[in-house]
């Protein structure tokens, strides 16, 4: 039971984006996932990618607050990583050299489907921002991602005052929306 309490605390920390907690979960589980990947035709770079994707799945779940902890954190991360890795292997037609023990994993199909959908959406946003070019990309990043205030942004980007920066931000935002929604409505994340 003790373990369970600890896991619940860790999840709360993850949802809040607490660096110490992320570091701890990372440290405790990365090596396990690395051996899983490396024993199944992957490199340690693949391991890093897959593990970080699994962490995002966990993060999403923790954030949604819907996480019913009916298994250990360890089992969860292992299951998600395994699933993600099998998918990737299938996509690249690399063969699986050994069957991964099915008993130690739980079903995570739903989460992975959700993750992939969101990942595609974010990729769409990312590409839209890339296509905006500079300084628009950095400007929007500063405001919406880094959450800087307009005064600081004006200073950093060399606008004479916050109102000017704000105006510029809205201009950029309009272009971004156009790019984003044109991709979104086409249903083509790569567009």
């Amino acid at each position: 039971m003790n373990n369970k309490h600890l896991d619940v605390d860790l999840l709360k920390g993850l949802a809040a984006g607490d660096r110490k907690v992320i570091e701890r979960v990372y440290k405790d589980h990365f090596n396990m996932i690395q051996s899983l990947i490396v024993n199944n035709n992957g490199s340690s770079d693949d391991a890093q990618d897959i593990f970080q994707e699994a962490m995002i799945v966990l993060y999403e779940k923790a954030r949604a607050g819907s996480f019913e902890l009916n298994c250990q954190l360890k089992t969860y991360l292992y299951s998600v990583s395994k699933r993600l890795w099998l998918k990737r292997l299938q996509q690249s037609n690399r063969l699986i050299s050994q069957e991964i023990d099915p008993d130690t994993t739980i079903s995570v199909e739903e989460e992975i489907a959700g993750f992939e959908k969101r990942d595609a959406e974010f990729e769409l946003m990312n590409q839209a921002i890339q296509r905006l070019g500079e300084p628009c990309g950095s400007l929007l990043d500063a405001y919406y991602v880094k959450k800087m205030n307009m005064q600081d942004i004006a200073l950093q980007f060399g606008y004479t005052n916050a109102d000017n920066a704000k105006n510029q931000k809205y201009k950029c935002l309009m272009r971004l929306k156009k790019l984003f929604f044109s991709g979104y409505k086409n249903g083509n994340p790569n567009g």
């Binding site: 984006g17 490396v38 992957g42 490199s43 340690s44 970080q52 929604f181």
Partner: protein
């Protein structure tokens, strides 16, 4: 009301920044104008997307940072695979690849590279300025004073205190065990080499030099040196792309200096195919500085600039570092240097990248 104003009103409305009167007014507008209403819905959705996107991005870059940190501290097995794991991985991966294909590839590469080597132009070097640093007397004096202070503060350094260093450049780690790369012209005719950064001051020896490529490998030979557990950056085997943004850290002064620019031509001085041309602010002492791309991969080693033109410099392409390491391996008792090929810095902010890299860049002092 134009689109821009409307958007700004909508955003204020969604964020709840409107005062009650404005709000009532806006809601009326929303009711009477379906277009506005639709825009509000759309923008709410968009802002949510932006928000979530931001959170993901922050979370991802935080994880990358953590990975580098943990790998540095040795708390997770680093990107380099070790022992058993590596054998399993390599075996799984390459058992299908036939040895014949590999050997053909090797032979072809060797043939082509030797051909290129023979054909490559030897350029007049007069317009080419090597950027090693001649210490002025004044600098020498201040340095001596600083050293005296250091010596008093810190008695552990094994570096003799009375060496008058005459020239200098920059060097950077390519293997966590204590191997560095710099330019041959930096350490030419050196009797004693000392490398120094914030981490400390160590004695080093030249173990290999390739004059043609202007690449030298140094090994730290100092009992005080503690090997790193891993390097944050990797070395790129690819030729860099035109216009790719780059940055460098070096020691044109007694202080590490950051500079940024872009790759401006794929060949170097007088069409030299070994190197490439970069648009960056380089000064004496920058010789041997690593040139990194946006992903934090080393794409070259800065080695000179043209004297009759300001602003651009040249860098030896990093793939030649691999060649040098290969020839080093073939020597008797040549150490096997293992260079990381993947950078852990991909996706980090520039300031964060620089903070990680600077511990691995050293001032190279020579007398």
């Amino acid at each position: 009301m134009d689109d821009l104003q409307l958007l700004s009103e909508i955003e204020r409305y969604i964020k709840g920044e409107m005062c009650p009167d404005e709000r009532v007014h806006f809601e009326q507008l929303r009711k009477s104008n379906t277009e506005v209403d639709q825009l509000v819905v759309e923008h709410t959705f968009f802002l949510q997307q932006m928000n979530r996107f931001g959170e993901w991005k922050r979370f991802k870059s935080l994880m990358k940072e953590i990975h580098v940190d943990l790998a540095e501290k040795g708390q997770i097995s680093s990107t380099r695979l070790q022992g058993k794991l590596k054998v399993i991985y390599l075996w799984n991966r390459y058992k299908r690849v036939s040895a014949i294909a590999a050997s053909i590839a090797v032979i072809t590469t060797l043939a082509i590279s030797s051909l290129v080597w023979i054909i490559a132009p030897t350029s007049p070097r007069s317009q080419f300025e090597e950027l090693n640093n001649k210490f002025s007397q004044l600098e020498d004096k201040t340095k001596k004073q600083a050293k005296e202070i250091d010596r008093i503060k810190n008695k552990t350094s094994s570096v003799p205190q009375d060496i008058p260093f005459t020239t200098g450049g920059t060097g950077f780690m390519i293997d966590a065990k204590g191997y560095l790369v710099t330019n041959v012209h930096v350490i030419e005719e050196a009797q004693q080499i000392v490398i120094q950064n914030n981490r400390g001051e160590y004695l080093a020896e030249v173990i290999f030099q390739d004059k043609g490529r202007d690449i030298a490998i140094l090994k730290i030979e100092d009992p005080n040196f503690k090997p790193y557990s891993s390097l944050p950056y990797g070395l790129s085997k690819q030729t860099a792309k035109l216009a790719e943004p780059i940055f460098t850290l070096g020691y044109p002064r007694n202080e590490v200096v950051y500079s940024q620019g872009y790759l401006s031509a794929k060949t170097g001085f007088n069409g030299d195919t070994l190197s490439c041309q970069i648009e960056i602010n380089a000064n004496r002492g920058n010789s041997g500085s690593p040139i990194l791309n946006r992903k934090g991969e080393v794409i070259g080693v800065l080695n000179g600039r043209q004297t009759n033109a300001q602003g651009f410099a040249f860098a030896v392409q990093s793939k030649y570092i691999f060649d040098v390491i290969e020839s080093l391996k073939k020597q008797d008792n040549g150490p096997a240097i293992r260079v990381p090929s993947r950078s852990l810095l991909n996706g980090l902010d520039r300031t964060e990248q620089v903070r990680k890299v600077q511990d691995y860049v050293y001032m190279v002092k020579v007398n």
